[in-house]
């Protein structure tokens, strides 16, 4: 029966999703052209010899294609069975890496194998994804269960911690992307919501810590965050305890309290209205606990905890920024938030990359005509800041095309992941999606000055064998699953 099936459908490689492979090849070619643009001097057209970055990248690309073809041909059952072993082996490799690796720019993450250096952290993403898929794919496993969630989180945090020890914070942060997959697999949305709220509260609180609300002694940052906490609490009450009228009451009274507090400050004696807001939040929490006691509904306690926790977070974040983070990290955060202007040091990279991209205009300066990247104004121009070359040489049209290709790739993976017949396949698909999305989000975001400068590569574009092979591995294992799954779905 099985042999029959195989005979009827031929080699699984031919059933692989052609759209993803096309996008993959397109991105690979665009990436190679960008590396040519970024690493060559004006007038230099030797793109193919081993001595040049573009020549080497061609070799990495060739290897990747071979790797992809190989992956499509092996039996998918193999991945399932070795995933546990692979994960453990990867942990061991990550553990010993700092001891055998050379120190490159303060990080010990590269293992030298003669002419080629490999970065185990790039392959750890793949091994972790497989291990997660295996864990979550087990029968009866659900992430709504806190104990299961803790297990899965442990699988993610273990390699993450080891990579932090290699001083590769950027690569380690990528593992946070798995929480997006967790969300799809049933992790309570409240956790994701809290994470987003924490980022928003932090950014608003720190960014506007020095401006005062007109007519009061309250800073804009504090007041706005406290206002947001009130609105979030009211909203959550509405969502989790619908049809009780509590939300309406909280909104109405909150409006009255805020408006009155502001009027008194404005018309009578100016004072710090943040105190009134804090009192109001504590009052809300108390009210929620009280009705929670009456109705025995756990949601009320949690919302109250959110209110008090958020307020505490606001007042500790400022302290954390100034005391917990190291100085260069503080500076990066402040530059990103626009609190400090530092074109010469921390802000230099982003300043120059914005100039390079901004000078591209609509159509760009044309292949090999970019001045900013070629004259080395943009640092890391063929690795982390490779998107500058696209922005400068291919302009708005080229940059958008690249962004849309990535979007298409991600949405196609989403589509394929959802149609998997096994949880294992779906989970693995979401892992691939989350990692790609995180890389694109952070890498392009930092180049255009929207996200912090975290040194992670742009998939398929940035120069380097390890990252290219890592992403190829990640993507083609998923393609192989999908190809195999097609038969099952028939």
């Amino acid at each position: 029966m099985r042999d029959n099936l195989q005979k009827r459908t031929g080699n699984p490689a031919f059933r692989a999703d052609w759209l993803i492979i096309t996008i993959y090849l397109l991105l690979l070619c665009a990436g190679w052209l960008s590396i040519c643009g970024a690493s060559h001097e004006i007038g230099d057209t030797d793109f193919f010899s081993w001595g040049t970055r573009s020549g080497k990248q061609l070799v990495w690309m060739g290897c990747s294609l071979g790797l992809g073809a190989f992956l499509l041909m092996i039996d998918e059952k193999y991945f399932d069975s070795v995933s546990g072993l692979l994960y453990v082996a990867m942990l061991v490799l990550l553990l010993i890496t700092p001891f055998i690796a050379k120190d490159i720019k303060g990080s010990r993450s590269w293992i030298s194998l003669g002419a080629v250096s490999l970065q185990p952290a790039e392959f750890a993403k793949c091994a972790t994804s497989l291990a997660l898929a295996k864990l979550i794919g087990e029968f009866g496993f659900t992430l709504s269960d806190m104990r299961n969630l803790a297990k899965a989180a442990g699988l993610v945090l273990l390699p993450m911690g080891l990579i932090v020890m290699q001083k590769e914070t950027g690569s380690a942060l990528v593992f946070l992307a798995f929480f997006l997959m967790f969300y799809r697999e049933g992790m309570p949305g409240a956790i994701l919501f809290c994470a987003v709220a924490a980022v928003v509260f932090f950014v608003v609180g720190v960014r506007f810590a020095d401006e005062f609300l007109p007519g009061t002694y309250a800073t804009v940052g504090q007041s706005v965050v406290l206002l947001l906490i009130w609105l979030c609490v009211a909203g959550m009450t509405g969502v989790y305890c619908p049809r009780t009228g509590h939300m309406r009451r909280l909104l109405l009274w909150g409006t009255v309290v805020h408006f009155a507090a502001w009027l008194v400050s404005r018309l009578a004696i100016p004072y710090d209205i943040a105190w009134v807001q804090i009192v109001w939040i504590v009052a809300m929490a108390g009210y929620l606990v009280w009705i929670g006691l009456g109705g025995r509904v756990r949601a009320y306690y949690l919302i109250a905890a959110f209110a008090l926790g958020s307020t505490a977070f606001l007042y500790t974040s400022d302290y954390a920024l100034n005391n917990v983070f190291q100085e260069h990290q503080q500076l990066r955060i402040k530059v990103l938030l626009g609190i400090e202007e530092d074109v010469a040091r921390a802000g230099y990279n982003v300043h120059q990359s914005k100039i390079a991209i901004g000078s591209g205009g609509l159509e760009g300066k044309g292949f090999m005509n970019g001045t900013q990247t070629k004259l080395k104004y943009v640092p890391e121009q063929d690795t982390d800041f490779i998107f500058c070359t696209i922005g400068e040489e291919q302009g708005f049209i080229g940059s958008c095309a690249v962004l849309l290709l990535f979007l298409l790739l991600i949405l196609r993976i989403l589509w394929l992941a959802e149609r998997q017949s096994t949880t294992f396949g779906r989970v693995y698909g979401y892992c691939v999606l989350s990692i790609l999305l995180f890389h694109v989000f952070i890498n392009i975001g930092m180049v255009i000055g929207l996200t912090p400068v975290i040194g992670i590569p742009l998939p398929f574009f940035s120069y380097g064998g390890s990252s290219l092979w890592g992403f190829t591995l990640l993507l083609f294992i998923f393609l192989r699953f999908d190809a195999g799954d097609k038969l099952r779905r028939r």
Binding site: Y183, K354, K376
Partner: protein, 614 residues
């Protein structure tokens, strides 16, 4: 199962996040790449070093092709503030010969100047002479951020014709803002005076540009687009002046120690053969870093050496003006060549007395010009203004009188190709009504002999001589004869006719000839030529001004000249001999031994100006 379905819907949240990120990023790219031009400018100032290539300024020759003005290399020290770090300031100051205080001051000035950019070279010091430059060049590699720009400096073959040639100086803010083609930038040079200013566009040429690519370390990586956007500088055009350098030198010598001007014109073309103004100055002092100091000193001098009296001095023309009166009287029919007026040592009428010197009476036109009879021309004007058959009113007659003079080149700027020309003064009826209230022919009759309200520049007087020589037309006088690779303005090649018929000019010529053969200008006679002339003795607050205008030869005239010596006394005292020497020099190419001696003695004569208010 229900719960699995809710989780399944979370795919829309995840897909939405991905789409949201891409949309936000595209909006950001739109803002960066399409909405703002700043990034492009920033990128250009990053990557491009724009070297301005300065063209050589046009040379200036005299009418016989002898070189008057040329260029010599000099150097500007440039500084790029962004690169200027960690240099030994003291060593630098010592090398270029400045104090550390000056260094600091200069740096501040540069940073506060208009259009300052710390990425582009700014002018630090200008016009470093070649010797100082050698010293600096050896050490330049130590002074990061400083560079050298090769420029040139004006040199003068001799010290003559300062007023005509003018000079160049650094542009000021006004020059930069007013140039409609935005040609100038701080540190450039521009013609400030004379021909250098009026022919600035032709002389300066066009600046070139070389765009070089420099990398983040400042080292040059080649030319942008293989020089597709580079421009080679276009050198300035050479100018050939109509000035005769030897004649100019003689005129300046003759005026030494006197205030005044000599202008000579070639009547057939309007070309100015010499234009001397005294006192003058040495143009060689107005060069380079010393220019502003020298200029200030000259500006403070009470004798006003910067004033080009030939075109800016407004003097009463005195008796030279009588020629215009004779011509317009004939044209208007007030007098005929045969009309004779009595003169009893002056004009006596209705209690008004205007003196004259002793000569026969009554006297006809040619003799009246020859002897410069005041009474004759007073009667002429009186009869014109009182003529109610021809003119409906006194004002109409006055307007007619004024129109004649304007067409002869008086009362308005002639339009010479030099900056700063004054228009002189020809009064009209509204002027008198405003200033005199009740006025009549008698109250203004002194204007008929070039006194009173009438003033003219020496150039206008010379132009009158040229017009008479041409028998009724003139070309606008000009000092530039040829522009290399171009043509002079057609303004200067179009004849301007007066309102007087050519036939009447014959009588003016005859009168001026009579003045030389047996009248007031006997000293103007040059053996072998029929010289025509007219003296002028203009009364003013101090000693009389001495004036002369003339031309020679009478038929086919080659030179017309006007001489004006402030407080020189009778026209015959300075005007006539100086005019004669100029004409002789030009006609013969040299002076006779006798004239040579005469020239030397006039060169040595000084007029004491101490007592007169200037």
């Amino acid at each position: 199962m229900d719960i699995q379905e809710t989780f399944k819907n979370r795919r829309f949240v995840i897909g939405g996040v991905a789409i949201g990120i891409v949309v936000i990023y595209i909006m950001r790219l739109f803002a960066l790449q399409l909405l703002s031009d700043d990034y492009k400018k920033n990128a250009d100032s990053n990557a491009f070093r724009r070297d301005v290539l300065y063209p050589s300024r046009g040379l200036i020759f005299d009418r016989n092709d002898s070189l008057l003005v040329y260029n010599e290399p000099s150097y500007n020290i440039m500084v790029t503030m962004n690169d200027q770090r960690g240099i030994d300031t003291l060593d630098f100051c010592e090398t270029v010969g400045i104090t550390p205080e000056f260094y600091e001051k200069r740096c501040d000035e540069i940073k506060n100047s208009k259009g300052y950019s710390r990425y582009t070279p700014q002018v630090f010091m200008t016009q470093i002479p070649a010797e100082e430059f050698m010293l600096l060049r050896e050490k330049l590699f130590q002074f990061r951020g400083f560079s050298i720009e090769k420029r040139s400096i004006r040199r003068y073959a001799s010290g003559i014709a300062a007023h005509v040639l003018g000079d160049v100086g650094e542009v000021n803010e006004k020059d930069i803002n007013e140039a409609e083609d935005k040609y100038y930038r701080s540190g450039d040079y521009i013609g400030k005076l004379g021909v250098e200013r009026s022919y600035e566009k032709q002389l300066r040429g066009e600046k070139g540009l070389r765009i070089l690519l420099r990398d983040v370390h400042g080292s040059i990586k080649g030319r942008y687009q293989d020089g597709a956007y580079d421009r080679t500088p276009v050198p300035g055009s050479n100018l050939t002046l109509s000035i005769d350098a030897r004649l100019q030198a003689l005129a300046e010598q003759l005026l030494e120690g006197k205030l005044g001007a000599i202008v000579a014109i070639e009547p057939a073309t309007g070309q100015i053969l010499c234009m001397a103004s005294s006192p003058t100055y040495d143009p060689r002092a107005m060069v380079g870093r010393e220019r502003s100091k020298a200029h200030q000193q000259l500006a403070k001098d009470p004798m006003k050496p910067l004033l080009n009296r030939a075109i800016m001095g407004m003097y009463p023309p005195g008796s030279t003006f009588k020629i215009t009166q004779a011509l317009l009287g004939l044209q208007e029919g007030i007098i005929t060549p045969q009309t004779a007026y009595p003169c009893s040592r002056g004009f006596n009428f209705k209690g008004l007395h205007l003196g004259c010197h002793g000569h026969g009476s009554p006297i006809a036109l040619v003799s009246a010009i020859g002897t410069s009879c005041n009474a004759y021309f007073c009667w002429n004007l009186y009869h014109m203004l009182s003529n109610r058959q021809k003119y409906a009113s006194r004002d109409e007659a006055m307007t007619r009188w004024k129109d004649h003079l304007v067409r002869m080149g008086y009362g308005y700027r002639l339009g010479v190709d030099l900056p700063g020309e004054k228009r002189g003064m020809i009064p009209n009826a509204p002027y008198y009504t405003e200033h005199f209230g009740d006025w009549g022919p008698l109250s203004i009759v002194s204007i008929s002999i070039g006194q009173g309200e009438v003033t003219a520049t020496p150039l206008q007087i010379a132009n009158l001589a040229a017009t008479v020589a041409n028998r009724g037309y003139y070309y606008i006088p000009h000092v530039v004869k040829d522009i290399q690779g171009g043509r002079i303005d057609t303004l200067y090649t179009r004849p301007h006719y007066t309102m007087v018929d050519a036939k009447w000019y014959d009588y003016a010529v005859a009168g001026m000839r009579a003045a030389v053969t047996g009248g007031t200008c006997r000293g103007a006679n040059i053996p072998g030529y029929e010289v025509c002339g007219k003296t002028g003795t203009a009364q003013n607050r101090g000693h009389d001004h001495s004036a002369f205008m003339g031309f020679a030869p009478m038929n086919e005239p080659r030179i017309a000249v006007a001489v004006y010596v402030e407080n020189g006394g009778f026209g015959a005292t300075f005007g006539v001999p100086l005019g004669k020497l100029i004409m002789e020099q030009y006609l013969n190419g040299k002076l006779s031994p006798g004239s040579e001696a005469q020239a030397r003695s006039f060169q040595a004569r000084r007029i004491n100006y101490g007592g007169y208010e200037r």
